[in-house]
């Protein structure tokens, strides 16, 4: 019978004792910051790729297609290793550590964040494109007839409307992103999971420590679900949209409730 070491479990799960450990403290911060930056850049890359895919200029379409094809068709882990170690040996870019406002950002964190962002962009491209294509073409015509250029019409008329369509899947992407940052462990970037791995190497309590680690991620995704449903409720209220799924449904991973088939009216 395995003896569960509650002391180790609580020590590394619960602040403040867990936060006394500098690895967990910075690991948590790195995970959150990397998730946000990678998601933000991912949306940007996705927007460019979506516009490229819809462009009248063939080379833009081809570049966007190849980008999406490659980064959705190959494993993120391989992309990350390729970017960090692969580019390193070619000396195209060595990912040197950067010190920014007294905080050291390791090359591994930079490479990992960039890999996450580029990969995410390939997925966001389809989400952004679907959002833009959901908008009535009459909107672009009306904007153009008022003298707007394509760029201004996108920025002022199409994208604000597409955002409504994009926000729910974007929220789900961010939820995934927080969990996917754990892959950075492979290039020894000092994120949260790496911290637990290092502690485990020292005290060897994998059962206790990895349960504690999983609960950290559960806490992050749960908090995000709550924020996300607030955002969506706000969007829906203003524009008179359908009600988004309730907070509990979202946390438990259920879609919007549907009437059972044949319930009648």
């Amino acid at each position: 019978m395995y003896h569960f070491d509650w002391d180790v479990f609580w020590k590394y799960l619960w602040p403040p004792s867990a936060f006394d450990d500098p690895m967990i403290r910075t690991g948590l911060m790195v995970t959150i910051v990397v998730s946000i930056i990678a998601q933000f850049l991912g949306v940007l890359f996705g927007l460019f790729a979506a516009l490229g895919k819809m462009s009248k200029f063939a080379p833009f379409r081809i570049i966007a297609d190849v980008y999406i094809w490659y980064f959705r068709g190959t494993p993120l882990l391989v992309q990350m290793m390729l970017l960090f170690f692969g580019l390193g040996v070619t000396h195209v870019y060595d990912f040197p550590d950067i010190v920014f406002e007294g905080i050291k950002i390791s090359g591994a964190i930079q490479a990992g964040t960039l890999a996450l962002a580029i990969n995410e962009g390939a997925y966001m491209a389809e989400i952004v494109r679907a959002g833009i294509e959901a908008i009535d073409p009459g909107q672009m015509e009306a904007a153009k007839s008022l003298g707007m250029t394509f760029g201004l019409a996108m920025q002022r008329i199409i994208l604000p409307q597409a955002a409504k369509v994009i926000v729910p899947p974007l929220g789900n992407e961010f939820n995934n992103m927080m969990k996917t940052t754990t892959l950075l462990v492979i290039i020894s970037a000092s994120e949260l999971f790496y911290a637990f791995e290092q502690i485990n190497a020292r005290v060897f309590k994998p059962f206790e420590l990895f349960i504690a680690a999983s609960l950290y991620y559960l806490a992050m995704t749960t908090i995000w679900s709550i924020i996300q449903s607030r955002i969506e409720a706000g969007l829906g209220e203003r524009k008179g949209m359908e009600k988004p799924p309730s907070m509990l449904d979202r946390i438990l991973g259920m879609g919007p409730r549907r009437e059972p088939i044949g319930s009648g009216h």
Binding site: D136, L146, L152, Q161
Partner: protein
């Protein structure tokens, strides 16, 4: 009557000059040598069976559709193209946009921006295209809302307005750019019958001061507001004349057939 209306307009400057316009959708020849002149303050109403190319022609006037041959000039400038070594080259996006800013367009399905209020819809282009100061654009927008009888709907979103109200806001939105020409693409055909009148009233008032090209089947409106009727069928203008002449004494067989269908 015929003489009166033509002598009234002949000395006025030409606003729209379409010359032998041809357009194809693939192998389909949708506009066949369409030639039309519209002078300042004139209201020309284009009628004709569906599929006759009248909406397509209207959309060519502000280059929402490209033409394959011929020329369209608005205020004496080529639309969508410029001449280079005797050849027509498509214009830059910036130039096309600048020309479109001078041409107001009202659509069948209103196409108001649903994420903006009535007033925001109206001031959007003046502020972001013309760079009008926001205060001035708002003052102007409120005047326009008053003109179409919707001051109290200033802060409503399109979804909170009836179809007729939306179309009146759309007219105000187009007028906010102070265009020299207004294009109306079947402005009342998506409306419930009881709302058609309120939109036509605004358009009748407008027709007294604006140059307008209107695609419409509203015979009452055509008789009251049009200086000229152009009848289109199969991609060509078959007959053109004053409302009295075209409705009362059509020369072409095709026109007679069409009128007999819509007047009964």
């Amino acid at each position: 009557m015929e003489l009166a209306s033509s002598s009234l307009t002949n000395d006025k400057p030409i606003i729209v000059q379409a010359d032998k316009v041809n357009k194809y959708f693939g192998s389909l020849h949708v506009l066949k040598n369409v030639t039309l002149t519209v002078r300042q303050n004139e209201t020309v109403i284009v009628i004709g069976p569906s599929g006759s190319g009248k909406s397509t022609f209207l959309r060519c006037i502000n280059h929402l559709e490209k033409i394959n041959s011929g020329t369209i000039r608005v205020n004496d400038r080529l639309i969508g193209y410029h001449e280079r070594n005797g050849k027509l080259v498509e214009d830059t996006e910036k130039n096309i946009s600048r020309q479109r800013a001078e041409i107001g367009m009202v659509f069948q399905r209103f196409n108001l921006f649903p994420h903006l209020t009535a007033l925001e819809n109206i001031i959007e282009a003046p502020v972001h295209v013309r760079k009008t100061p926001v205060d001035a654009a708002i003052a102007d927008g409120e005047r326009l809302l008053a003109r179409v009888g919707l001051v109290d709907k200033r802060d409503k979103y399109p979804a909170q307005l009836s179809g007729g109200q939306q179309q009146r806001v759309a007219i105000a939105r187009a007028l906010a750019m102070k265009p020299s020409l207004m294009l109306f693409d079947e402005p009342t055909s998506a409306l419930d019958p009881e709302m058609i009148g309120e939109v036509l009233d605004v358009m009748k008032e407008l027709a007294r001061q604006m140059t307008m090209v209107v695609v419409s089947h509203e015979m009452g409106f055509a008789t009251a507001a049009a200086n000229r009727i152009a009848f289109m069928a199969d991609g060509a203008i078959i007959e053109e004349g004053s409302p009295d002449q075209v409705f009362g004494n059509p020369h072409e067989e095709r026109t007679k057939q069409f009128l007999s269908k819509i007047l009964h």
